[in-house]
Symmetry: C2
Subunit: 474 residues, 2 copies
């Protein structure tokens, strides 16, 4: 172990930097900081201390100290991640950004906001709403913090038309492993001034620096939104409609595909009703635009394209409450099956290959006699397959014996990742690598890339202080 | 000098790799490879050999040889750059990608093209047109090659709605300094699988790798396009209209601002007529959309917003030939003043700060008694100021004595870059750094970023073989 342990002297120094009330060392109080939203028990790990800086300067001083003393530092946002990326697997400091949550500025003229990393998405959406501005990305859990969604380059359903987090971050202030404060980018739309460090930092999962401020571009809110639910007898037909819609120059805000079985489970869990029961799989298409009339015209044209591609029917909802209910059912599928879920995957393939990937997953289901509920972002090629430790029997769950699911888990994972790779896909479209996927990184993207990533990591953080054990092992 | 010279033995080995006909060593034949589109004489530099590989494998073998023999390699595309980035300032090999120009695939379903780096933009636009697909970025000179526009992250006028080159490149195959072939990304819309090497490579000006293949996302062509010319008595009023247009959720394809004096020079040069003579400065707004009717409605609403913000008049052109003529005048301003231009700048500031930057430039003009023709991409904050070695006297040019412009050149440059910096801008929005701007890099973005960039460069190219002397000095 190349790291030093945190001793009393270091605790005293940390307290001097951030204040005694912002250093936690009791095991009980640190439990929350030992896991993320979805990490299985075997990934759980306690930090030696939780440290909550209140300013960039404090972050810098903590990192200088950690660098000098060779203590690992694991940055932490809302801990809504699904790959264990904020778990301090090497001990040391859990650096929680929760106290840095200011909205520093909302600049109407440039349509940009400047915020601190500990602000939650929910707080951010609320803060900009009163300026009549809008932030399209919606990675799902609104308790995620800005720093965290930058660290994973989060995506979500609304990425089809507007793109992922990466497309909206224009500037970052961050602190490097040695405590250097670095500003990158600005309120700028174009930038060809040297290497693009901004995009290197976005998605680097806290392994290259700690983000302490972000400049985020915004758009005016859509004037109207409409949701289409389109049932099909075959997922293939559903998926095949999407390139047709896009080629006709209709770019929806979101296009989701959902197989019916998992919808029925969620309906029951939430005691809510999905708009239609026919068919095997649905597309959920969200449109936005300048007016109700304009979107209705688009919705009708898209509906025709769907029907021409074997859709059974088209349900259009322009009622706000009904749309919210549909979205809630879609968003809570995750909650409905969570207690029986081992891991949520986010394999991403070219848009045209989704149906083939889902076919491959059904073959794997048959082979291992498991249920692998699958749904996802159809226009992005981003497929969420859930590896479960229970199966459905009618309306009930039947737990799989631990020995059995443990025996199957990695075999299933291997096969799904291989299926994605064979379709020219990758292992993560939006969740990141963290701990859970790092053994598959080289298989997914090739040794050459992993070697380059490690060289960059070593060049910027030679003592491997920042979030060690994530993405890859050095 | 840490590099070795190319000797006869190395020439023999290079000929064995790419074929004797693809190795040039005569000084006369190498003249073309000693400069780019705009490099002043003092930047001109001959390579020791021009090498034209025909495949990725040949690129890899050339780089392996160059690495072993410590010979610098400067990749070269269409040489339409404006910063000297493709000039082999340390001698060695000029690696011209001109023979790698295949369109490998146009994938209609995923709306992506796979192409080689030596394909020109003009050839690329033509190749995808027959598939009814469209590539929005238009950096200006259509003889630019794909590899070059990736190397500088080129921009252009159409970036307002659709973004710059970076936004369209989804995958790259490249060769690292040691000859390793690396594939990054794919036909993928979402990707959070490790560090984002794709965006690190885009804009790295051939200093980190040689791009040998690119996967480029495309869109369906706009069904209709319309051009508005809006004259104002004050550039301030023109600039102030832009946030108003954007806040009303109208996102034009392009928004250019042009001061009248430079337009008149270009009219005369081309013997063509600009739509209006009134006012001091014009906005040129290009709209695209689903139908003529839809765009006309938008154009009328934008026209009203302009008039409410002190526009003198609004000229709307939906005639294809007339629009082409307007665009030609705008595009050829550069040609009209080129022979008297020392350097074309591309300072970029927040959109709201353009008018203040242009004011500062007018003050500098007064101070140094020079003409600094300025126009640019108004919605991007990307301002093209030209440093001249002549002034206008009525309809004629008057050459400035060499001693005088030489004395003023860097003083003017210093002041313009400082003015941009004071407005939270950067020195390059789309041209890159190359040789011409590297002395200003640290001033523009801070020492911390430059230090990180150098660490990355050293980590990936420890012998500094790839395009040495560009962006920064190691």
């Amino acid at each position: 172990m190349p790291y030093n342990k945190i001793n009393e002297d270091i605790i005293t120094q940390l307290k001097a930097i951030v204040g005694a009330e912002n250093v936690i060392t009791s095991k009980e109080a640190m439990e929350d900081y030992s896991h993320d939203e979805y990490a299985p028990d075997w990934v759980k790990h306690y930090p030696e201390a939780v440290v909550k800086p209140k300013s960039t300067e404090e972050v810098s001083r903590v990192l200088k100290l950690a660098s000098k003393e060779k203590i690992p530092v694991t940055p932490r946002g809302g801990a809504t991640g699904l790959t264990g990326a904020c778990i301090p697997v090497c001990g040391g400091i859990s650096l929680s950004l929760e106290k840095m949550k200011k909205v520093i500025e909302v600049d109407k003229e440039n349509m940009m906001a400047v915020v601190e990393p500990g602000l939650t998405l929910k707080e951010f959406y609320t803060a900009i709403e009163k300026f009549n501005l809008y932030f399209p990305p919606h990675p799902g859990d609104e308790s995620a913090m800005i720093g965290g969604v930058i660290a994973t380059n989060a995506g979500g359903a609304r990425a089809v038309k507007y793109g992922v987090i990466r497309n909206f971050i224009k500037g970052i202030e961050c602190v490097l492993a040695d405590g250097t404060v670095m500003e990158v980018g600005g309120k700028l739309i174009k930038n060809s001034t040297g290497y693009n460090l901004l995009n290197l930092i976005i998605g680097s999962e806290g392994t290259l620096c700690v983000v302490t401020r972000a400049i985020i571009s915004l758009i005016p809110p859509p004037k109207a939104i409409m949701t289409l639910i389109v049932p099909y007898n075959s997922l293939h037909d559903a998926i095949k409609t999407i390139p047709v819609i896009m080629a006709n120059n209709f770019i929806p805000m979101a296009v989701e595909f959902i197989e019916k079985d998992v919808l029925f489970v969620t309906e029951k869990y939430l005691d809510k009703t999905w708009p239609c029961r026919q068919g095997e799989a649905d597309l959920m298409i969200i449109l936005d635009g300048e007016s109700e009339d304009e979107i209705m015209k688009t919705a009708e044209k898209i509906g025709e394209l769907c029907l021409a591609n074997n859709a059974i029917d088209v349900f259009i909802s322009d009622n706000k409450d009904k749309q919210a209910e549909i979205l809630k059912i879609r968003s809570e599928i995750y909650e409905a099956i969570k207690q029986h879920t081992l891991e949520i995957l986010d394999v991403t393939v070219p848009r045209s290959k989704i149906a083939e990937l889902v076919d491959a997953i059904h073959v794997i289901e048959e082979k291992y006699k498991v249920w692998l509920p699958t749904f996802g972002h159809a226009a992005d090629g981003n497929v969420h397959t859930h590896i479960m430790k229970a199966v459905r029997e009618g309306d009930n769950w039947k737990e799989t014996p631990e020995a059995e699911w443990k025996a199957k888990y990695h075999l299933i994972l291997d096969e799904i990742y291989k299926a994605g790779k064979d379709l020219n896909g990758i292992i993560s479209g939006e969740h990141g690598i963290g701990i859970l996927k790092k053994d598959y990184l080289a298989m997914s993207i090739g040794e050459a890339q992993v070697t380059v990533m490690k060289k960059i990591k070593r060049a910027l953080d030679p003592d491997n202080i920042l979030n060690p054990g994530k993405i890859f092992d050095l």
